[in-house]
Amino acid sequence: MSSLTHLDRLEAEAIHIMREVVTETEHPVMLYSVGKDSSVMLHLAQKAFYPSVPPFPLMHVDTTYKFREMIEFRNRRAEEVGMELIVHINQQGVEDGVGPFSHGSSFHTDVMKTQALKQSLDIHKFDAAFGGARRDEEKSRAKERIFSFRTAEHRWDPKNQRPEIWNVYNARKRQGESIRVFPLSNWTELDIWQYIRRENIEIPTLYFADERPVVDWNGVTIMVDDDRVPEDLRATVRTESVRFRTLGCYPLTGAVASTAKTLDEIIQETLLNTSSERQGRVIDSDQSASMEKKKQEGYF
């Protein structure tokens, strides 16, 4: 009898989780952020319900500062998979002209991402939302449950989590409460890459090195993806072979110098790399335990 590999077991676990959610909640949605983890999550959803199309929509919280390629990739993938795509933008934020260059990274993220996410969940009355977060990303995630409950105000209470025993998930909740579900909880970054490789999962080309126009802003190298980059910054533009280890708002996503043009080269670089994944995200490094604080406030 063939034994299952670690990727087989992780895959089977994620599929089991997704099937539980669609049967135990009324109105689930998959938060699709276009990154590599979302790509894996979408692939797993297709596997979980094949030959049916996954019985829930995809939702993207668009901060209006995402890389242009992410938007193209997002629209194309949703169509190929045949799932409904909901795009939510915080219109109030747009009207107020909120953006990272004018308002700073944390205000922009709060209004256009955290607040926008709460809005969209409220508007569509989703009672369960799949997210691609992993426990290995950050210390406070190590204790978060796979089924993570949020109050009607979207707050997470780390002291009051339900025990998760075996793979028997208690998804019962009161009116107004919702669940964030993390099917990739037990995956590590390396697992994600290996799975992408094994399953031949398509990811945006931003992950691969290419000659790109970049500038330095707030100590991070960012890509000039459109002309909203302030003019004085644009004056310093240079072309470098870079790639991105995570994808988000282009002004808030640090590019790393790289020549890795294939998946194997990326993985090679990742394995030999000496700083952990979230280091590239501007938002984490403010203060110790900052992620835990953000999550209590409703950040995914």
């Binding site: 034994s3 210390k139 590590t188």
Partner: protein, 633 residues
């Protein structure tokens, strides 16, 4: 800085292909801060090179700032979790850590060891293949060691590492190690015969026997901790067990496809296999084992698949598809072990919700038979179970479910208990066995069911329950009614108190307890006859309301008709057809209803016959008219 940097640098493809074949081991570490648990986990992460340089830099900074190891690295800081806990210096939940080596990926459930966190340990143990019991070499086997072993063993872990830590503080003395091991073996016999124990002398702080043997313990011939974790078998037992798959979701993309999606928890499944759907018991054959990347020749335990069957049979979420040759049992009453996990104590008799596999049912848990003192492992009487208490109870469900004993299959015998009001998970339960022996008989799907049997006879089954004093005319009128029904072509049967007491119930007397049992048995016989589609006429004094209610509850809605033969005691005694009242008055018969045993007059009888004013024919006709008016016949 990684073990395999060379291969990663020179031949990444070869490296990745090697790593795709890794297996996965989940283990739990049991111990307290004092035993060096966090240090051990930190050391495993560190030695398997799972720490990035930025993490290492912050670890070194933190070690100097808040560490307990002077200028050395404090590995415990690596596994710190939430901010509040960091301040208290203890971990208070279950945290999951990940690392991998050349051979395996590991998921570590890191749980606190104090008694008040028993539920956290049970949670961590529920998904673990192996437990590491941490022991301070200076202190030996403690109460908490026994508690940890008991909890992890109860949750189904059969492989334990006896990690005797801080050997550096006892000069790596073999005699100390041997004594602790001997102590533990003596205790382990109490747990069960199927426990595999691997004792290893360690120093998590100094790194002895973590990844490789050290000169300090040259006398030790066993594997290092890492060697053990890399080679211990995973999941080796469930593959040979009979096939089980709880159905999570019915997959119906179009009219041409109907599949059943679930994760195989035991055994394997191939196209052509005979299967049974439980609890209905319907049989079919596997047509395909479907996955997105193509049909499988064989699906094995652990895989999430979608199965199609050759027949269109009923099967929905919560059912179990299982091997037809060795299906699981089906029952609605069980003996269980319970670990209570809520601040609000178990309320025996109250309805809770249980979730077992993909099945949710309502359940009543009875008062514990006893609770296990998890420190002394002795049984103690208990009326309820408080937070972190472990006890043995019986429970009843409102519908039958398929199950296997927990010791045979975690997924088929383990369930969570949910409070209906708060929705919180308040306990976990482990099924030991079904209570009624009759339930061990596997349920057969009755193709010829009750409706079919009744239809064949062209009638509605009904139980006509005649109650009243001895001599009130029950049997006389029942017999007359049976004649009338027979004339109309109805299929009937009379159950008479005297007749049944000569056979089925001849072991019963006339005490209150025996009267109750008498009625219980007759009720069951009446139900079976009703299931056979018959009109059953039961003629029993049945003096107690509660037993008549019990009989009523047993039947389907509208199937039980209570007929009260309203005859005053004086009239019945005056008739005294069998001369029984005379004997009772003379004291020759004890416990005679109406004389020295009470008769409780029905409050809600459907039909009341006043036998002082009606003839036998009139009484029977009145009942017949009532039945016709209600559309029963």
């Amino acid at each position: 800085m990684r073990l395999n940097d060379d291969l990663i640098a020179t031949d990444i493809a070869a490296y990745l292909e090697g790593h795709e074949q890794k297996s996965l081991l989940r283990f739990i570490t049991c111990g307290s801060v004092d035993d060096g648990k966090s240090t051990l986990i930190g050391r495993l992460l560190y030695d398997s090179k799972m720490i990035y340089e930025d993490q290492l830099a912050s670890l070194e900074a933190d070690s100097k700032k808040v560490g307990t190891q002077g200028q050395d690295i404090d590995f415990a800081l690596l596994v710190d979790g939430l901010a509040a806990e960091r301040e208290q210096g203890i971990t208070i939940d279950v945290a999951y850590r990940f690392f991998s080596t050349e051979k395996r990926k590991f998921i570590v459930a890191d749980t606190p060891g104090h008694e008040q966190y028993t539920r956290n340990m049970a949670t961590g143990a529920s998904t673990a293949d192996v437990a590491i019991l941490l022991i301070d070499a200076r202190r030996g086997i403690l109460t908490q060691t026994r508690r940890h072993a008991f909890i992890t063993y109860s949750l189904g872990i059969r492989r334990m590492v006896l990690a005797i830590n801080k050997m550096d503080l006892v000069d790596y003395d073999k005699a100390v190690f041997d004594e602790i091991v001997a102590d533990f073996y003596a205790f382990a016999d109490e747990l069960g015969p199927d426990l595999e124990i691997e004792p290893i002398p360690l120093s998590a702080l100094k790194g002895d026997n973590i990844t490789a043997p050290q000169g300090n313990t040259a006398w030790f011939e066993g594997p290092s901790l890492m060697e053990y974790l890399e080679t211990v078998p995973v999941d080796d037992m469930r593959h040979d067990s009979p096939f089980r798959m709880p159905v999570q979701w019915v997959n119906r993309p179009n009219l041409d496809f109907r599949g059943f999606s679930g994760q195989i928890v035991n055994g394997s499944v191939k196209p052509g296999d005979r299967i049974k759907v439980l609890p209905s018991g319907k049989e079919s054959q596997v047509e395909r084992v479907v996955t997105m990347t193509g049909d499988l020749e064989e699906g094995v335990a652990g895989q999430s698949v979608t199965v199609t069957l050759t027949d269109e049979i009923d099967c929905s979420r919560g059912d179990v598809i299982a091997s037809a040759e060795s299906p699981p049992e089906v029952s609605d009453q069980f003996q269980i072990r319970v670990l209570w996990m809520s601040d609000d104590a178990l309320l025996p008799g109250r309805k809770y919700i249980m979730k077992i596999g993909a099945k949710t049912a309502r359940v009543t848990i009875n008062a514990p038979k006893y609770a296990v003192n998890i420190n002394t492992l002795t049984d103690e009487p208990a009326r309820t179970l408080e937070l972190n208490e472990f006890g043995v109870c019986t429970m009843a469900l409102d519908e039958p479910i398929a199950f296997d004993p927990y010791t045979e299959c975690r997924e088929m015998g383990g369930f969570v208990i949910i409070d209906r009001i708060t929705n919180n998970t308040v306990g976990l339960g482990l099924v030991d066995f079904a209570l009624r022996r009759a339930s061990n008989i596997h349920w057969q799907a009755l193709e010829v069911d009750k409706n079919a049997l009744a239809e064949q006879k062209g009638q509605k089954p009904v139980v006509l329950w005649f109650t009243g004093l001895s001599g009130s005319g029950k049997s006389t009128i029942a017999n007359e009614l049976q004649k009338m029904l027979f004339a109309k072509g109805r299929h009937t049967m009379v159950l008479d108190g005297d007749n049944v007491r000569h056979g089925l119930n001849r072991d019963l007397g006339f005490t209150d307890a025996d009267r109750v049992e008498n009625i219980r048995r007759v009720s069951h016989v009446a139900k079976l006859m009703a299931d056979a589609g018959l009109i059953v006429l039961v003629s029993f004094i049945s003096p107690f309301r509660s037993e008549r209610q019990m009989a009523r509850n047993m039947m389907d809605e509208g199937e039980f008709v209570e007929i009260f033969m309203d005859t005053p005691l004086a009239v019945a005694e005056d008739r005294d057809v069998k001369g029984l009242y005379k004997k009772a008055r003379a004291g020759e018969i004890k416990n005679f209803t109406g004389i020295d045993s009470p008769y409780e007059v029905p409050k809600n009888a459907e039909v009341i016959i006043d036998t002082t004013r009606n003839t036998v024919e009139e009484g029977a006709s009145e009942i017949l008219a009532w039945l016709e008016s209600k559309g029963v016949i």
